[in-house]
């Protein structure tokens, strides 16, 4: 038996990033007016040219613009801003996020989405059991904890962003709602690459939701969510009838006109997991470690990269080995080599 099977202790490595440009070089590039990005640190002079307008991440002092964060300089027309390398997630309308309920309040939930302030989820912005066409009633307000309570995880979309930067969420779609059958992990929000779709089915019966806020949900691919056939709807009707016995469920017995109504039974707020086979649990841990490795290597996280990382991880039969620094670096290297070979870089 090897020592590294029990623990690996290493010396801290020196930061692997390239040497940051000095001030002198930067002012050279600015006089050229080149549209390029460079890394600046807080308090560093970005420009003394008065044509630039100060944007986010900068401050203005004695006719000079300085950076207030560590990050990349971005120039859009005459607007100069610094995009921070690290920092809290900044919500934008339309973002698909994963969040955790922190508070149940008056007709609203507070949701931790990793931003500066908790986001708000209004009672009117969720699918209530019984379908969209139902009006929300006073009894819904009284039993908000039966839908979502403190600690519950959900995925949602940012509906709007208030002037103070906090967000309002909604879950008015079948792809949003409470999360089950899986495990949660976080990565720095900057690493999640925005794309059209943030829910991905991966091989091995595993699904992943890559929240733009860096909250990630890995779960067993649900049998009911992605199939769209008659038998399933019928099954749900039976299920909701069972669920409904002796409890509050308006709309369940009535004739339905949309599938949304069928799906919006109490089932969507259930806390019960499906049966998850051991093989799926093992696969989930492998994906979990692959995502952690990508995050360790500061690689942007996309479903292709997760798949590539998964392929690269297969050389390690013992998944537990993937927590080691060497293995994580190996996986990142493999992913980058793979992308280069495909010509993606």
């Amino acid at each position: 038996m090897d020592v590294s099977d029990v623990i690996s202790i290493s010396k801290p490595s020196i930061a692997r990033t390239n040497v940051i440009d000095s001030d002198v070089e930067m002012s050279d590039t600015e006089t050229n007016g080149a549209e390029q990005t460079s890394i600046v640190t807080p308090g560093e002079l970005v420009t003394d040219d008065p044509v630039w307008m100060k944007g986010h991440g900068t401050y203005f002092l004695n006719d000079n613009i300085y950076s207030s964060v560590a990050g990349n300089v971005s120039r859009v027309n005459r607007l100069l801003s610094v995009i921070p390398l690290r920092g809290k997630y900044q919500p934008e309308t339309g973002d698909h996020v994963v969040g955790r309920i922190t508070e149940v309040g008056n007709k609203r939930w507070k949701v931790d989405i990793g931003a500066k302030q908790d986001a708000i989820l209004m009672l009117g912005s969720v699918n209530l059991p019984g379908g969209v066409l139902r009006r929300k009633s006073e009894s819904d307000e009284l039993q908000m904890r039966n839908f979502l309570k403190e600690g519950d995880l959900l995925n949602a979309e940012v509906q709007s962003v208030f002037s103070n930067g906090s967000a309002s969420l909604h879950t008015r779609s079948l792809k949003y709602g409470k999360l089950r059958n899986g495990i949660f992990l976080t990565v720095p929000s900057r690493l999640v690459v925005k794309s059209k779709n943030h829910t991905h089915k991966l091989s091995g019966d595993v699904s992943v939701i890559l929240g733009i806020n860096g909250f990630i949900w890995l779960s067993k691919t649900s049998t009911s969510n992605f199939t769209n056939n008659e038998s399933n709807i019928a099954g749900n009707r039976v299920q909701s009838a069972i669920d409904g016995q002796g409890s509050y469920n308006p709309g369940v017995g009535s004739v339905s006109i949309t599938r949304l109504e069928e799906e919006s039974s109490w089932e969507i707020y259930s806390d019960k997991n499906e049966f998850i086979p051991t093989t799926v649990r093992d696969t989930i841990t492998r994906y979990y470690n692959v995502i952690r490795a990508l995050s360790y290597g500061e690689l942007g996280i996309t479903d292709q990269r997760i798949t590539m990382g998964y392929q690269a991880s297969l050389q390690y039969a013992n998944v537990g080995k993937l927590v080691d620094k060497d293995a994580m670096e190996q996986i990142c290297d493999d992913v980058i080599t793979n992308e280069k070979m495909r010509g993606n870089l």
Binding site: V3, I9, S10, K11, D152, N181, K272, L322, K325
Partner: protein
């Protein structure tokens, strides 16, 4: 930390399986990887900094003082400071108590003896900069590294001062300073703590924050002199948890915990020693 019921159930169901499926697929006896540096505080006799991959970080400094042996009840003083916790909080007090009792019970105090009147007193100060899971293991490993690299000045005056009233004097040359191991003349290995999580019939080394939330019980076992030692006690590792799963401890758990610690802790000590060997002569912090 609050988990949703579905998450909690998933974690619990994975961990009670045999063998348990830990979220990061570690083996039951596998600890999380660490990054460590030693001898970086210039004004301390020994120091160590330990960082875990989840961001937990701990700095330990060992300082020494010459005291009259007769006037000093204990020659080791441990102080713990955890960011975000009051010094008089239960959490910090428990950590401090555990570490003090571990070191008082298992330490070669003869290494600190200078003359028949005087001794060194060691002050071990631990700062936990950030922690997610229960920080006892990381603190005790940092103490191990700091004590192993502690260098004490060489005594140049007479060792026997029973009849002569004499202040001890020390060599000016720092190169002459001896580590505690050299002072005892044997292989000096300070004691360490290992935290184990109990779930179902399994025991998990070094449980992570998520695992702690669903554990049925927790154990801390000390390891010294090549085998498991006292103090050995059970503890609730999950802070601020409503302890849904908290259960009693079976005697078989304790027996298997001791045998696991006997089997695998030697390797942890070995890994720590290897790091010290690599770190010699390199005074860089980062």
């Amino acid at each position: 930390m609050l988990l949703s019921p579905a998450e909690r159930q998933y974690l619990y169901d994975s961990l009670v399986q045999n063998p348990p499926i830990r979220p990061d697929a570690r083996n039951v006896f596998q600890c999380r990887p660490l990054e460590a540096t030693t001898t970086f505080l210039p004004s301390s006799n020994g120091s160590a900094r330990l960082r875990m991959t989840d961001g937990a970080e701990c700095i330990v400094s060992v300082k020494s003082k010459v005291v009259k042996t007769a006037d000093t009840p204990n020659l080791l003083e441990v102080d713990v400071d955890v960011q975000g916790y009051r010094d008089d909080s239960n959490f910090v007090a428990t950590l401090k108590y555990n570490l003090s009792s571990l070191l008082h019970k298992n330490f070669p105090f003869e290494a600190l003896k200078l003359t028949s009147r005087y001794s060194y007193k060691l002050f071990i100060d631990c700062i936990v900069m950030s922690n997610t899971s229960y920080p006892l293991t990381i603190i005790s490993m940092a103490i191990y590294l700091a004590l192993k690299t502690t260098k004490l000045p060489k005594l140049v005056s007479e060792v026997d001062d029973v009849n002569v009233e004499e202040q001890p004097t020390f060599s000016d040359d720092w190169e002459d300073a001896k580590t505690l191991g050299e002072a005892t003349g044997s292989d000096f290995q300070p004691p360490v703590f290992i935290t184990l999580g109990v779930i179902g019939s399994s025991l998990l080394f070094d449980p992570s924050l998520e695992e702690e939330q669903v554990l049925e019980n927790g154990l801390i076992v000390s390891f010294y002199d090549g085998k498991a030692q006292t103090p050995l006690q059970n503890i609730n590792l999950a802070l601020n948890s409503n302890k849904n799963n908290y259960k009693g401890l079976k005697s078989t758990h304790i027996v298997s915990a001791i045998s696991m610690v006997n089997k695998y802790c030697g390797m942890i000590i070995h890994a720590l020693d290897t790091l010290i060997d690599q770190d010699e002569g390199d005074g860089q912090v980062f």
